[in-house]
Symmetry: C2
Subunit: 400 residues, 2 copies
């Protein structure tokens, strides 16, 4: 017969396999110190508490916690999430504006399914989160980029795009962005919201790392100013455990009605057993103490990396100093290639993610992402020393 | 601002909320005997074994079972699934042809994403599985129907459609179909495969109930004859537990490469903790003994329903006698409305799903689906008596 490949839909032909996943295969070698992944530190996982939760819910409600459940998700868990927003940021969110998803990645897939037609203009940060690029690409939008500056979105660039194109959706990560580690300032949030309201563009604010702020002042989501025009994505992957793939989408009822239909078609409902485990965990153990523990670990790891970079990297190399989250972003002098650096670094047994894939069209070839959450301070010291040797080696052979 | 509804993509405007879920809200009243849902019998869930599995995997490998994992799924679980096919049906499936999904519903969403362009002709059985109609509708195909007869697909109808349209995909449920309870005969499978090979149409064979055969002879999947042209969907929802939402898709490597990309975009990977639980369960407990227990319960429930229907329903009412699965299908005399019957039955405190929603365009208004897996024999007796009263009441007022 003819090759099956002739049958593929156009939408899937445009999307590449995750480049990071290919890099992670190389970085999987146990001899390599990897700053490439985005894994939380597994030493802080609440293994014993999860075990207690499993036992208690199975003992108390065995058949029910193993049965099919609702598309929207476990109501007490949705109420917990709504209350948490309301308490933290004085919002007024109802549980029926929350739907439990398979990680925030699914939230992004569902909202894309609901909103994006082929050719619709959408905006993503430059550099942007690779998983979002992949999720959005499936729906074949017309991508636009706005530069992420030190204090957030470049508002002039944004206004230029919004006045030229009818942009339906802007995807951004206001706190400790992946890959850059940058957060939008309070002022940037306010101004950005004003502009988005003027142009009626939906802001999809993804916030996987927001609770992991170990320095500086917590800032509210753009929902605070945008109201209905904001769709928030959240996740328990970084605050409880990743393997459950539990996240949520928070959207106005009009949008939520359509998200529910998309979720029914996509997989009927999210794993209910793990929704019950997480709800038990949140209501029977001290989640705040647990998050403090995570923040302490991440701050130590971040500090170790920043200190070592200061000490060993050539002065012309720039880098971000994140106040939370799991990544920092390095910019080599213009013209130096982080892809070439990757090849040299791998020989020195250290891995990272080159920056180019985080850019839609061109750019970023002199940038790279470093993850500090999955290496201990000793590994970070050795890794940064080896990486700086590779940078120096690259410099010698580098003709700008 | 303008209503957000103006922003919706065309694809989502075509899809209705699941009609069954609306019915289930009415049927949720504890005073009502419900034959409406599709829930497994919760009394047979292996609660204690699941508890042991949770404890053992957390004790032995805590941090790892709670960490992020691979898009394809836990390799030993994928090997188990491949071996199970190979042992049962003498197939030659490799673990890299299996990807773990959030229930078989997600498998259908992913394969639709990979294959279906707007307007592509696709075929579904008449009557057809509602969840499939919903999943496929999102991708805006041109739906065609082939009648499901007592021994399977109407091959003449099928040939007519295939010779008139270039059909990319045919979705079917060869064993104990939902909603009809019908299985394709061996001969029907062979002939159907020959025809599909001639026209190069991919057959997506969904098989949630295949292991629940309590009468008759087990039959191989169409993959046996179709090879690469078959995509199989499977699920642990009916054999282990539903709340984990664990299923799989089995496809040729060419298709699988694209399914992996679609899965990455959709939600990165399936809940890993529950993959580990199910793998532990399958390799440390007697799954065959457990399935025997399920089959025994379902046979008793099915026998109770068939016996009561024979005893109480008017003779002109026709019904299927399934050899497995969870549903049987009732056909009232032409012109009698099962929607009207539903209203009468609810007054008698018994619920079912009217057949019309299982038909794409017209038809089926005199049919209904009865589920027997979630009611005990006493409830089944009372429910069928009350339903037959409603049928007789409808007959009195029924002018053909």
């Amino acid at each position: 017969m003819e090759p099956l490949t002739e049958l593929f839909a156009e939408r899937i032909l445009n999307v590449q396999k995750s480049f990071i996943r290919e890099i992670l295969k190389i970085a999987g070698d146990p001899e390599i110190i990897s700053f490439a992944g985005g894994l939380p530190n597994p030493h802080i996982f609440p293994v014993q508490e999860i075990r207690t939760a499993c036992n208690e819910i199975l003992k108390a409600d065995g058949p029910n916690v193993l049965q099919y459940s609702t598309t929207e998700g476990y109501l007490p868990l949705r109420e917990y999430i709504a209350n948490d927003y309301n308490n933290k940021y004085k919002l007024n969110i109802n549980a029926d504006e929350i739907l439990i998803t398979n990680g925030s990645q699914q939230g992004l897939d569902l909202i894309s399914k609901v909103l994006i037609e082929k050719g619709d203009p959408v905006i993503i940060e430059r550099p942007g989160y690779l998983g979002a690029l992949q999720a959005l690409s499936i729906y074949q939008p017309d991508f636009h980029n706005v530069t992420l500056k030190e204090d957030g979105i470049d508002l002039i660039e944004l206004t230029n795009i919004l006045s030229a194109f009818k942009v339906k959706l802007f995807y951004g990560v206001p706190n400790f962005q992946n890959p850059s580690g940058i957060s939008y300032s309070q002022q940037n949030r306010v101004k950005l919201s004003e502009i988005l309201q003027l142009y009626k563009t939906i802001f999809v604010e993804d916030n996987p790392y927001g609770d992991l702020r170990f320095m500086g002042k917590d800032l509210p989501p753009l929902k605070k100013w945008l109201g209905k025009q904001s769709v928030m994505l959240g996740s328990f992957s970084k605050t409880v455990v990743p393997s459950f793939r539990l996240g949520w989408i928070c959207a106005d009822r009009d949008i939520m009605d359509k998200v529910i239909i998309a979720k029914q078609g996509a997989d009927l409902h999210t794993n209910y057993f793990c929704q019950r485990i997480v709800h038990y965990y949140l209501t029977h153990f001290d989640i705040n103490a647990h998050i403090e523990k995570a923040k302490k670990a991440y701050k130590e790891q971040r500090d170790a990396m920043v200190t070592m970079i200061e000490k060993y990297f050539p002065k012309e190399v720039k880098y971000t100093k994140p106040e939370g989250g799991m990544f920092l972003w390095v910019t080599l002098p213009e013209g130096m290639s982080s892809m070439r650096l990757f090849e040299l670094a791998i020989k020195n047994k250290v891995a990272f993610v080159p920056g180019a894939p985080f850019y839609i069209k061109d750019g970023g070839s002199n940038t790279l992402r470093l993850n500090y959450s999955n290496s201990d301070p000793e590994q970070i010291e050795t890794g940064i020393i080896e990486l700086s040797k590779a940078i120096k080696e690259l410099k010698v052979n580098y003709c700008p």
